[in-house]
Amino acid sequence: MSKLVEFFTNLELIDWIFYLVGGLMVVFSIFAVEARRIFDSVLALSAVSLLSVLLFIVLKAPDVAITEAAVGSGLASAVMIFALFRMKAGEKK
């Protein structure tokens, strides 16, 4: 228990950012797995990659941050949502 208290008192600001953003990523990932509608899952995955962009910027990897913001949270979600529309259009017939 004292080890845990020591761990939390030694944290700096950058560590707090890491744990906050990482915890939010875990929460969104669990939401993406457990959500009822697939549409919500796609949105949660997009949010996960948007949060990871923050971590990449803090870790001084702007290349990866630009790519992740463009591909992970933009284009991949768009392609998945288009595919979802396709599947729904196929079900109606």
Binding site: P62, D63, A65, I66, A70, V71, G74, F82, A83, R86
Partner: protein, 242 residues
Amino acid sequence: MRRIWAILISVVFLYFFLGTYFPTLPKFGNIDMYRRVSFDYISKSTTTSYQPVEYKKSKGLEDGSANVVTSIVVNYRSFDTLGEVTVLFAAALGVGILANIKKRRIEFEEHKVLSVAAGMIFPLILLFGAYIFIHGHLTPGGGFPGGTVIALGVLLLMLAKNEFKVTDVAKHTEQVAGSGYVLVGLIGMAVVGVFLANFLPTGTIGNLFSAGVVPIVYSLIGFKVGAELSSLVSDMREGDKA
């Protein structure tokens, strides 16, 4: 039961990560890059002895790009990048084949605000994407992110206007740019003797026209990736009459 297993597996992974792997990591920001392998890439000299590199002053370096990642991706490991472009082409080809099977076109409700704003923002997005891949050897980014930003602009137009279509020009652009990359490699083989070698003078580090073939190759990759991803998204949207 499935959830219990998932929680158990993730707890075990977390335990090993926090207990075993995490304490071995050095503190953030305290790594001495000077003694790592990347020193060879930062000083841009893998064959001769090291010399100090000064921004906007050093001339005729082995690789004149001011960006370490770019000098690895497009100069030292350019053949890998050619393979990566090929993988992307194969993925786009697969989507194009699978998405066009007897489905209707996806239509959206047009919104006045979105369609007006998209017309105003689209040129700026194009400009930003072109900036990213033209300055790939000076600033972070490069052909892949720049091309993706351009494709996102095309996606915005697609969402805004129902009658917007990506024509065959995109596919022709992609073919020309992709074969241009191979052509640059063949010219390097003819001049220097190695496939994809840097055959142009590298110039002063930090200038726009420097680093030899790196800006040319990155512009070609930007055009190729932009056209490819635009036509990929368009393939997902259009029906079998596309």
